[in-house]
């Protein structure tokens, strides 16, 4: 992955983790749905593809909630 691609994915990971934290107070399943719906509603297809690539590589830097939501969106 190039530096620029890494930078872009870093930002997406940060965004996804922020969203996950915002929904963390909800019961887990509702929270996963909330995060997934939010990303679906506001992210471009390319953003979802880019973070999907990170997820495919293990998604290690994703919060568990963010990871679960992104897995649901795949």
């Amino acid at each position: 992955m190039t530096d620029s691609a890494t930078h872009a994915v870093d930002k997406l990971i940060r965004m996804a983790n922020q969203i996950a934290v915002a929904f963390a107070a909800q019961p887990r399943d509702e929270a996963i749905t909330g995060v997934a719906d939010h990303i679906k509603a506001f992210w471009t297809p390319k953003m979802r593809r880019d973070i999907g690539a990170h997820l495919a590589e293990g998604g290690q830097r994703l919060e568990p909630l963010a990871k679960a939501a992104l897995e649901r969106l795949q």
């Binding site: 872009a8 509603a41 506001f42 471009t44």
Partner: protein, 948 residues
Amino acid sequence: MALIKEIDTGTPIRLADRIVTLVIDGERVSVPAGTSVMAAAMTMGTKIPKLCATDSLEAFGSCRLCLVEIEGRRGTPASCTTPAEDGMIVHTQNERLAKLRRGVMELYISDHPLDCLTCPANGDCELQDMAGAVGLRDVRYGYKGANHLDAGKDESNPYFTFDESKCIVCSRCVRACEETQGTFALTIQGRGFNSKVSPGGLDFLSSECVSCGACVQACPTATLSEKTIIEHGQPDHSVVTTCAYCGVGCSFKAEMQGERVVNMEPYKAGGANEGHSCVKGRFAWGYATAKDRITKPMIRAKITDPWREVSWDEAFAYAASEFKRIQSTHGREGVGAITSSRCTNEEVFVIQKLVRMGFGNNNVDTCARVCHSPTGYGLSKTFGTSAGTQDFKSVEESDVILVIGANPTDAHPVFASRMKKRLRQGARLIVVDPRKIDLVKSAHVRADYHLPLMPGTNVAIVNALSHVIVTEGLAKEDYIRERCDWDDFQVWARFIAEEKHSPEAVEQFTGVPAADVRAAARLYATGGKAAIYYGLGVTEHSQGSTTVMAMANLAMVTGNIGQRGMGVNPLRGQNNVQGACDMGSFPHEFSGYRHVSDDSTRDTFESLWGVALDKTPGMRIPNMLDEAQFGSFKGLYVQGEDIAQSDPDTHHVTAGLAAMECVIVQDLFLNETAKYAHVFFPGASFLEKDGTFTNAERRINRVRKVMTPMAGLADWEATLGFARALGVDMHYAHPSEIMDEIAALTPTFRNVSYKKLDEMGSVQWPCNDAAPEGTPIMHVDRFVRGKGKFMLTEFTPTDERTGPRFPLLLTTGRILSQYNVGAQTRRTSNSVWHEEDVLEIHPFDAESRGIRDGDLVALASRAGEVSLKARISERMQPGVVYTTFHHPNSGANVVTTDNSDWATNCPEYKVTAVQARRTNHWSDWQEQDRETAISMRRIAHEAADAAE
């Protein structure tokens, strides 16, 4: 077109259930109880002579010109101070009254310059009118006695003069400053013959005067006169239009001589301002004809090239060819646009239409991204729609006002005057703000509670207020059961009752004493009708959307939504932020806040526009900038926004812009963003086009053209020209046709038309078959989403942390005399009040750094560094510094970071960890900016001349 002269009833017409009927000069007239005899007479067209009375002010009874006879009463009472009563028989004219009035006028005129023919108020002078009305033919006292004719002029204010020799000491100006504006800058100094109007013993410029113009408007003579009227003379016609500054959306009469504006007079029938104004709308309109307006389209291949002036057609063709090339090279998603909150609804609508229909993607965003996008998200989740809930006027019925993260006296001054009036009547006030803003303590206003929280802790404070309400049994259960989702409420109530949300638990990081939070919560819950007003101090945080939802929770749990005097109200920053959002400027939704993935909504647009539309969200502004640098976004059309100055982390913004292959800027001036542009479409000011603005209370106001566009085209026409060059079929003969299309496609605008706006003056959406006359108060019987939804609003500290390197927190904002990036106000005399941005710092922080008032200070953050002069101020709390972003070379946004709201990516302007230290030089960025300010704005005039 004629000069609009509004009716002045002398004293206000009261609102009352009880009607009284009296007889005036033999005619029966009925008025609401409490209305004066003078106003009652005026309702039947009888003008009782007057000088000290005007209907924007309470009766004063000093001039003794409005005397009348009332049968059964002794003497000749003043009609302005005498309430109309049932059965009263009033005579306004007879020999006795005429003699008395002539006597009064003789006294006035005996001490007044007789220079009517050369007086600036000639033709618009109430003293002159009254001399005529009472038949004054002689002054028995002569003119040689003691007088004030040699009294000097105060010309210190850039916009108006005070000529004391013409003053009749009627106190209208003093009362306007008190009652209308609420500043109390003027007084009557001295007694008897020595009485004179004085701005506190100083000149106007040095005084506390805020130059709102209320005194000038109230003055019945030429004592207080606009300098433009003095220079040019009286207007020959006027046109009602809407101010292009803040989100209050004041109505003005543009008073004209031909196509030249000579005065902007606030319009009494304007629903948002009811005849009041501020220094920006009233006086700071000279930018519209500033000498550095760009009036010819320009293009250049590279941003290092000089600009080349071209015809509109060449500019359209070049821009279109570049956008087509970019899309063929980088794909359909390679281009996008940013709409402007300063432009009209119609202009915004055609740009988002161009993007969706012409570019074939949803890459459209708007400057609301960086201000009130969290409002859209938060209020839509909780209430079901993305807008404030009550009209400005209904603050008159509020008992408790909670101001959080807003500074209305600076940023929304006309609404602040309404609010202060209500506070002087006894409404209680809670201010939540890191700084001691003026509302905390100013003339006749003092907050009951000021909660001076540390920046970044809004959610914790609002949660703590709700915690107190829930745990102390102050929740309005009946309201919640009827109006809100009960199950959600129960979950939320358990959440908010947790000890971690208590005022005592959060005090350690909010810095606000728990006792004050508890007391403020009790006042909000039990003090009567409570209204929340908030600004960018709420939204521009990493948890901006969460705070909006927390405030909605607070309002719902206390039943403070759905009636006059209560609500949750964003104070919008720019004139048409609300409208730009309403018009479908966000990349995920069409006009009326409907998601692009909604098939039935998309079907209606596709049917009317005749093209298939993308059903996936497009890029937000930060995504566009990232993709420019790291991906394939290479073409941007920017309408009336200066992202290189206004958006955070300037290095990131300019790097993104510099990476693009074609940036089109449409603006009045070669702004900071234009330094990175390849095509310049010269913009049209609000005076040069027809359209509508929608203000913070959802009021759709007409903008009316009063002069020919200096560049030949209104902005919407330029967009259509660009669309045509791209081969996109968009035809409108007039903006009214664009509004007709908006109405056809947007349920909340279904009954809006120019005809309706002309008839009603303005209308607040939703305006449709269910609410044909509009909707001043929302969520009256039910929330738009059905049941109000309580949201769990966990407090999460921002990633931006102070530490040894950056121990202070910087927060930013704006001030009264300047406006946002300053493109407009910096080109007016308003700069006399704010020549440069400064860093406000608490005396403790200054002393520990050896910083003195006026020192140049290096302000550094993790993102960058700039130098500013220091202003030591106890408005700040220790540990917090503040600056504005009105001047480009100050570079406030060089320092701010790319942290943003989790839901909307609204930047976290309000929390930046910084260090301040004395310095003796400007920062590298500032030095470079000074150089590029010239080198990147060169225009090759010679080449253009040769071409012609």
